[in-house]
């Protein structure tokens, strides 16, 4: 059986990639994709721990399903916001969107 570490390392790599994407990308759409990566890294962790620590139980698996569902819903919402911003600002570049300051 593949050792648990492999899965955890994979999850960590994907998560870090997500963080990097969020911090480094300027396009709102790419940032959203990076956020998705982070969520999926978390989902991998759920499944891994569910299989290795509590075999035969479904709680962790169900959480993974929840994560996916919520990710989809959240993305729908976020994309709608991005679209609105694009309509107003004619850009989806987060550096140029700074209406939320004093």
């Amino acid at each position: 059986m593949i050792p648990i570490n492999h899965f955890l390392v994979l999850s960590a790599i994907i998560f870090s990639l997500g963080i990097y994407g969020v911090l480094a990308r300027r396009s709102a759409v790419l940032i959203l994709m990076s956020v998705e990566l982070m969520l999926q890294a978390a989902a991998i962790n759920f499944i891994t721990f569910a299989v290795y620590l509590a075999p035969g139980e479904f709680r962790g698996l169900i959480f993974a399903i929840f994560v996916i569902t919520i990710a989809a819903a959240e993305l729908g919402l976020a994309l709608a916001i991005v679209l609105r911003i694009y309509r107003n600002k004619v850009t989806a570049n987060v550096d140029e969107v700074d209406m939320m300051k004093w």
């Binding site: 911090l23 300027r26 940032i31 987060v94 004093w102």
Partner: protein, 633 residues
């Protein structure tokens, strides 16, 4: 109607007040008939109550029987009643308040006629009567205190009734503030009594004190604080300064509030709580005697030189109140209350007589009066009876009451007190005789005023006649035979007493000396007058310094004014400065400005750029994770 219906007594005038306040100006005659109706009804109601009281007051279990009222505030152990207690002491007070009050209300319809605030006058007078009746009937100290402040407030409103006059507004303020000083003492005293006993109920506090619930020092402090309240309200030295100024109010107000009823509330309070004074250190009663005696002397001497007719009577009131206090200091409730009772009649008579003069002449300075007895025979005659009663001439009411006090002082205090009191009788006779002669006898000093003077209308003279008649006879209540004829168990000593019934004693020696003193005083003034002189100007010529001191009221008012200007206002200024700069500018506005300032500085951290926030979150998580790990390790 039994004694447990006593709660109706204050309710009647209070209802009149409420109606007058709400719809008074739509009523015919602005509703004065309603106020009069209420107080007369209270007096009529008092009669069956008194009859029931006479049947019951010496029965066992009277204390529970005489109570009425209902719960007011109840939570946990704390229980406050809107409770009334109708006993002989309260009955005497109710009699004076309702009867003299009725006459004064009737008198006022003529005296106050045409005043723009005619209806308001009767409304406040009704409220006063309601508060006064509550005060004397209250069975617990807190209700008594509420009523105590109630009468003080009405007094303030009525002294300042003509507030367009600056002096009236000032006098009202002075009266209110001066009595407040004493009231603070009263409140603290009540709280002290409550703190140990856990109840405000007067008889329960008595019982608690008798069982030794209070330590002597504690009780002494508490009763002295109660006495401070009495000093303020009853215009005793050193808080007497407000009463002469209170004469700025309409004369019926002076008669009812500042002579017959409210100012004796202090005497009533001490009489009511005398059992506590007896249980306290003897120093408490000695203080009462000392204050009373000082009051008697300073008021009698100041009365000699005053030239305002109402002011002289005001000083005579202070004089009488001092006498009552001395009697209470000698633990003679009967003597004090007897004097209070007869004083209510003859002092109201004097004030109403003065009011009649003012009504007829529009003057109240003695210099503008004189010779009025031809023009106003009824007023002059009744006023003369009042003067003789006040001076204590046999057989008027004042004679009997005053002799009871002299007897009490001689028997229970010492000969010094007796001598001082006898001397004060001499002084009293002088200033009262001087007042009468300068107002009514001799040649008019102001021909113009004299020409326009006329006898007052019957609504004014009728109360004068009734009061004069009563001033002649109420003193005979001292005798057992008279009391029995009226249905009492005997004289006043068998009805109002502290320990046990006392029958009347006629102190021949005291009576003779005091009569000689009083007659000597009158004869002295008469003799001077025959030679075209009067005591005050004689004093001014022979002892100008003393005259000046007396005219300036022993400089007490000036001293108080100095203290107010230099101490009170200084401290007030410091406190105001502290409030403005420290509390307001630093404390309130300062913290607000600090918030604004830091917010202004910090707002530039908000770039509004998403990556910055994301970076901050990530950094924060990493830092937290590191901290967590290091703590775990």
């Amino acid at each position: 109607m039994g004694i447990n219906d006593a709660w109706l007594l204050p309710l009647l005038p209070f209802a009149a007040f409420a109606v007058l306040l709400l719809v008074g100006k739509y009523l015919p005659r602005r509703g004065d008939w309603l106020a009069i109706g209420a107080i007369v009804a209270a007096f009529v109601l008092f009669i069956p109550l008194l009859a029931d009281l006479l049947d019951n007051f010496d029965q066992p279990g009277f204390e529970e029987l005489a109570r009425s009222g209902w719960g007011w505030v109840e939570f946990g152990d704390f229980n406050l009643r809107l409770g009334f207690f109708f006993d002989p002491l309260a009955a005497v007070m109710v009699a004076v308040v309702t009867f003299v009050g009725s006459l004064i209300f009737i008198y006022s319809t003529a005296y106050m006629q045409g005043d723009p605030r005619y209806g308001w006058f009767f409304a406040v007078m009704s409220l006063f009567v309601a508060a006064m009746l509550t005060l004397v009937l209250a069975d617990n100290f807190l209700l008594l205190y509420v009523a105590w402040e109630g009468v003080g407030f009405c007094s303030y409103l009525l002294i300042g009734f003509w507030w367009e006059r600056k002096s009236a507004a000032e006098a009202a303020k002075k009266a209110f503030i001066t009595t407040r000083i004493g009231d603070i003492g009263l409140l603290i005293g009540i709280i002290l009594l409550w703190r140990e006993a856990g109840t405000f109920d007067i008889s329960e506090i008595f019982r608690f004190a008798e069982e030794g619930g209070y330590s002597t020092e504690y009780l002494t402090l508490a009763v002295l604080l109660l006495f401070a309240g009495a000093v303020g309200k009853s215009a005793q030295f050193p808080l007497h300064v407000w009463l002469p100024d209170a004469m700025e109010g309409p004369t019926p107000v002076s008669a009812l509030i500042h002579a017959a009823t409210m100012v004796v509330a202090g005497v009533y309070l001490v009489a009511r709580t005398l059992p506590l004074f007896q249980l306290a250190d003897p120093v408490a009663l000695n203080v009462v005697v000392a204050i009373g005696l000082t009051t008697v002397m300073i008021s009698a001497t100041m009365g000699l030189v005053m030239t305002d007719i109402k002011q002289v009577i005001a000083y005579s009131t202070i004089n009488s109140l001092g006498l009552m206090m001395v009697a209470l200091g000698a633990q003679q409730v009967t003597a004090a209350i007897f004097y209070l009772f007869v004083h209510g009649f003859f002092k109201a008579l004097l004030f109403l007589g003065a009011g009649s003069v003012i009504h007829a002449t529009d003057k109240q300075e003695i210099d503008d009066l004189g010779g009025l007895q031809d023009k106003m025979p009824v007023t002059a005659l009744t006023f003369g009876i009042g003067v003789f009663a006040m001076a204590g001439i046999f057989p008027l009411s004042g004679f009997w009451a005053k002799d009871e006090i002299l007897h009490a002082a001689g028997a229970h205090l010492n000969w010094v007190v007796l001598a001082v009191l006898t001397f004060s009788v001499f002084l009293t006779a002088i200033y009262m005789a001087r007042l009468y002669i300068l107002t009514f006898a001799g040649r008019p000093r102001n021909e113009h005023v004299y020409q326009h003077a006329h006898e007052s209308p019957p609504l004014i003279t009728a109360p004068l006649i009734v009061l004069a008649a009563l001033s002649l006879v109420v003193g005979f209540w001292a005798f057992d035979q008279v009391g029995e004829a009226l249905g009492f168990p005997g004289g006043i000593g068998e009805f109002v007493f502290l320990v046990g019934p006392e029958s009347f004693e006629f102190p021949v020696l005291a009576a003779v000396t005091s009569s000689i003193a009083a007659l000597a005083g009158i004869a002295f003034v008469y003799g001077l007058w025959r030679r075209g002189d009067e005591p005050a100007s004689l004093l001014a010529r022979t002892f100008p310094t003393i005259h000046k001191i007396l005219r300036n009221k022993y400089y007490l008012d000036d001293a108080y004014q100095w203290v107010v200007n230099n101490v009170v206002l200084l401290i007030g200024g410091i406190i105001a400065w502290f409030d403005r700069t420290i509390v307001n500018d630093t404390g309130v506005n300062g913290t607000a400005r600090l918030g604004v300032l830091t917010g202004f500085q910090l707002k530039f951290w908000q770039t509004g750029r998403l990556p910055n926030y994301a970076l901050a979150i990530v950094t924060g998580v990493i830092v937290l994770a590191l901290v967590f790990l290091s703590v775990r390790a």
